[in-house]
Symmetry: C2
Subunit: 245 residues, 2 copies
DNA sequence: ACCTGAACACCGTTCAAGT
DNA sequence: ACCTGAACACCGTTCAAGT
């Protein structure tokens, strides 16, 4: 099943999966909504790289040219995908007593949303949040930081830095996940850790006196723990800088 | 000249630039070094997306198939490119008196190196640093953090988080730079800021009470200032967490 | 051992023509 | 207005054949 869609070594395009019967006829009319929905769905089931204008058109029972009546190009489609998914991000009303804990929960829940929609994080890189739905989220995030009495300039930069961080972590996880799927076996996080740890501990001590002694630390912790450490560093840092005026 | 290599709306591949006379004959033999050098050079001059196995082969006066005798595939080539460029990263001997300032300078200089090699940052996403040259750099970075008496676990995670941050900022800048070049005019950072600021200040106050009042802060600061804020947040956060055990 | 031509199975986008 | 077939100018990778 994982192999079913392999065409050549590293290219796994949805088109190779004919999935007879799954191909819808052009019964319903095309729309931006349907196109975006198919894109998100294909990213989840086949990975970011497998989604192309052609694969989307195929699933909608038409040719790639038809999509261009609804979306300008692939870049715009990616924008719409991110907008649709980020609209799921819920940010609570600010509580000045625990704005920092709220902020922490928000960043963690954003990663959760991106994880629940594999591939979507890959669309976020280099995106300026001008899409309407995204601005609504930024608005609420600002509310949280205002409750913490963070200076305006720091608020603006922190929104930038923290969303870049969450997006990058999600995109990186996504690349790994796809690479694993490509190799085929998906060697259960446990095994990979053991392998990588071996590489580190077998490093020549003379050349790598510090690194070779840190094989344990370098490979300890799940993705969640590493990510949450990053979030804690960011929030502690923000509080320290804000306190120092 | 900027238009010279445009073929269709958003695809600008090196091959379209025939640059008669520039195409080398296969006088010298192929080698991994020459292939990597051409890749880095083309990323700088034509942008990340323009570099393909075919464009590299063309510049070397041969066909794409010839490259596969020296590199396994495009992914491996990207690894080699990052390795070559990161080898330029110099990390000082640790001074316990000012390890934090040293760390700050290091992260800033890494961004400088990635900026000096446009396109290369795009190869770093999702890369596990197992390449030998990269481990040497990590070794020295660890030395710096040990001088700051950061716990081993935090050292490991911080190397991860901070390099992801620098790489992401560089990759994001790169995407913007290419998009600007695509549009053609490259509207002088000044103009873009003015335009984006207008978008923010024209937001309906009822719907965006906070954001509409922050147009100034949202658009203030150069890329450098925003990046250095991020670095300061990371280092302050690390120090706060380390102090709290 | 190293290199090549030709082929395979794909891309995103455009455009004239249809309904 | 919306959709389509066919074409254009590309991709990465493989492979049998050459030197």
């Amino acid at each position: 099943m994982a192999e079913q869609r392999r065409v050549y070594a590293s290219g796994d395009r949805v088109g190779a999966t004919v999935r007879s019967g799954t191909r819808r006829r052009s019964a319903e009319r095309l729309s931006v909504d349907r196109i975006v929905a198919v894109a998100i769905d294909q990213m989840r089931t086949h990975g970011y790289d497998a989604v192309t204008m052609r694969s989307i058109a195929r699933e909608l029972g038409t040719g790639p040219a038809s999509l261009y009546a609804h979306v300008a190009n692939r870049a715009e489609l990616d924008q719409l995908v991110v907008g649709r998914v980020c609209a799921l991000w819920e940010i609570p009303d600010p509580d000045p007593e625990r704005w920092d804990a709220q902020l922490r929960e928000c960043l963690i829940s954003l990663l959760g949303i991106l994880r629940a929609h594999p591939g979507v994080a890959r669309c976020t890189m280099g995106m300026i949040p001008v899409e309407r739905g995204m601005l609504a989220v930024v608005e609420r995030l600002i509310g949280l930081l205002k409750a913490g009495e963070v200076p305006d300039q720091y608020i603006a930069w922190f929104v930038d830095v923290s969303s870049l961080f969450v997006g990058s972590v999600a995109a990186e996880e996504d690349i790994w996940r796809e690479r694993m799927a490509d190799i085929g076996e998906a060697p259960s996080e446990e095994e990979t850790v053991v392998e990588v740890r071996e590489v580190f501990s077998e490093l020549p001590v003379a050349e790598f006196p510090l690194l070779s002694g840190m094989a344990e630390a370098m490979t300890t912790g799940t993705g969640d723990e590493r990510f949450e450490f990053g979030v804690d560093v960011l929030i502690s840092g923000l509080k320290a800088l804000s306190a120092a005026r």
